[in-house]
């Protein structure tokens, strides 16, 4: 085979790769419909933690709050609340919302998970 033919074939492969990448990344990318909460955008995470804080204000149940927070990340609950509190302060959340988050943070910093008894 002539060298010009090889060049043509290699060019065709490169063009094919380009078309494949364009189709796979732009035209029809992988669609995520069942994502886990740890992939939530920062503002949604902060709002979720704020919801937990609002609920905690009424319920005063640290265990339930910790379980709800654990849904959005594998870090410890107090770290997640700290991160959300930082976001809230940086994004001008209201004073009451910041107070709620601070209350939840205090609860999570002092929360001790109940040991699970082996059967």
């Amino acid at each position: 085979m002539k060298s010009s033919n090889w060049i043509t074939i290699i060019a065709a492969i490169i063009i094919g790769i380009g078309i494949g990448l364009t189709y796979g990344w732009v035209i029809n990318p992988v669609v995520y419909t069942d994502v886990t909460p740890d992939a939530l955008r920062a503002d949604y995470r902060a709002d979720y933690v704020l919801m937990v804080a609002e609920a905690y204000q009424g319920e005063q149940d640290s265990e339930t709050a910790a379980r709800r927070i654990a849904m959005i990340g594998s870090e410890s609950p107090d770290l997640i609340v700290t991160s959300s509190l930082d976001y809230a302060i940086a994004n001008n959340f209201s004073q009451n919302e910041i107070l709620l988050l601070q209350g939840l943070l205090t609860a999570m910093q002092t929360y001790q998970p109940q040991p699970v008894n082996a059967p």
């Binding site: 492969i13 094919g16 790769i17 189709y23 990318p29 609002e54 319920e59």
Partner: protein, 298 residues
């Protein structure tokens, strides 16, 4: 010559297909688009349910219906009330406690009626009065623009927080009675049986025991617990989980030839000897009918 050209074209096509396959494999398998900034609508179904539970728990504390609605909209539900009702029913079926189910049923009811039915907050620390700011974009940034006033616990002002709906008045710091307000019954006031009707409808589920619970003004009441007992078993459920049939509606399926007793927990007396009736259709075929029990506060 012609054969040589044909081969070249074939090679080019094969090369293009190979390249296409490599490109797709890389973009779909090796390095797919990754979502790090997902929104709640993308969550898996079980996480969406957990999200709804937290929205309802938050609403039970804040009574901010506009915010709860905006948060539920983030999930992209076509019918948020229906989703909440289905979740509540699933939780009841899974033996969830009243404390877990009640906020969800309450939020579903309030979304249905368009205003908060429990506007007086009972939170022990701070009381929040929201200014009537319409929330269109349910993002945290928008939430942060709300103007809020914090009152200390010992401030003896009854506090109301309303959704901005045609039925609801503007926020005020004084208690104002509203004629459209509310379907929550006075605690301790008995519900008594005011109607027991046989329902012979072949289109309904056989043995369907339907309940309508109303207050003294004949408005249907959500969140009322009903206990149905039979032969050392019992089932507990609440009105309001099927808001499309009425806030005070609930139902239960009776087995033929089993005698049930019914009690509306809100101070109600036991109604004994409830039995699925037998009905006859126009062709003379006998089938199991249903009952409609209507309870009302005096």
């Amino acid at each position: 010559m012609r054969s040589s050209n044909r081969n070249i074209i074939l090679y080019i096509v094969l090369a293009l297909l190979t390249g296409l396959g490599l490109g797709l494999a890389y973009s779909w398998l090796l390095s797919p688009v990754t979502y790090v900034d997902a929104n709640p609508a993308m969550l898996r179904t079980d996480f969406k349910d957990q999200y709804r539970i937290v929205v309802a728990a938050s609403y039970a504390s804040s009574h901010d219906l506009a915010r709860a609605r905006a948060r539920l909209q983030l999930l992209g539900d076509v019918d948020p009330v229906g989703q909440l009702s289905a979740l509540a029913q699933n939780m009841v079926a899974g033996n969830a406690s009243l404390e877990q189910v009640q906020p969800i049923a309450q939020l579903a009811t309030d979304l249905q009626q368009g205003f908060s039915s429990s506007p007086i907050t009972d939170t022990p620390f701070v009381v929040v009065v929201n200014t009537p700011t319409e929330i269109d974009t349910p993002s945290a940034e928008t939430f942060a623009t709300e103007t809020q006033t914090i009152l200390e616990e010992d401030t003896p002002i009854p506090t109301l927080a309303f959704d901005q709906t045609p039925l609801a008045p503007v926020v005020t710091s004084t208690f104002a009675p509203r004629p459209t307000f509310t379907a929550i019954p006075a605690s301790g006031v008995l519900f008594s049986l005011v109607g027991q009707d046989t329902v012979c409808d072949p289109g309904l589920q056989p043995g369907l025991l339907q309940f309508i619970i109303m207050d003294s003004r004949r408005r249907q009441v959500a969140g009322i617990e009903i206990i149905v007992s039979w032969t050392e078993k019992e089932d507990r459920f609440f009105t309001g989980f099927k808001p499309e049939l009425g806030d005070g509606y609930a139902d239960f399926v009776m087995q033929p030839d089993v005698i049930y007793s019914v009690r509306v927990v809100e101070g109600g007396a036991i109604v004994p000897n409830i039995l699925a009736p037998t009905c006859t259709d126009p062709n003379g075929v006998i089938y199991t009918g249903g009952l409609l029990l209507t309870f009302q506060q005096p």
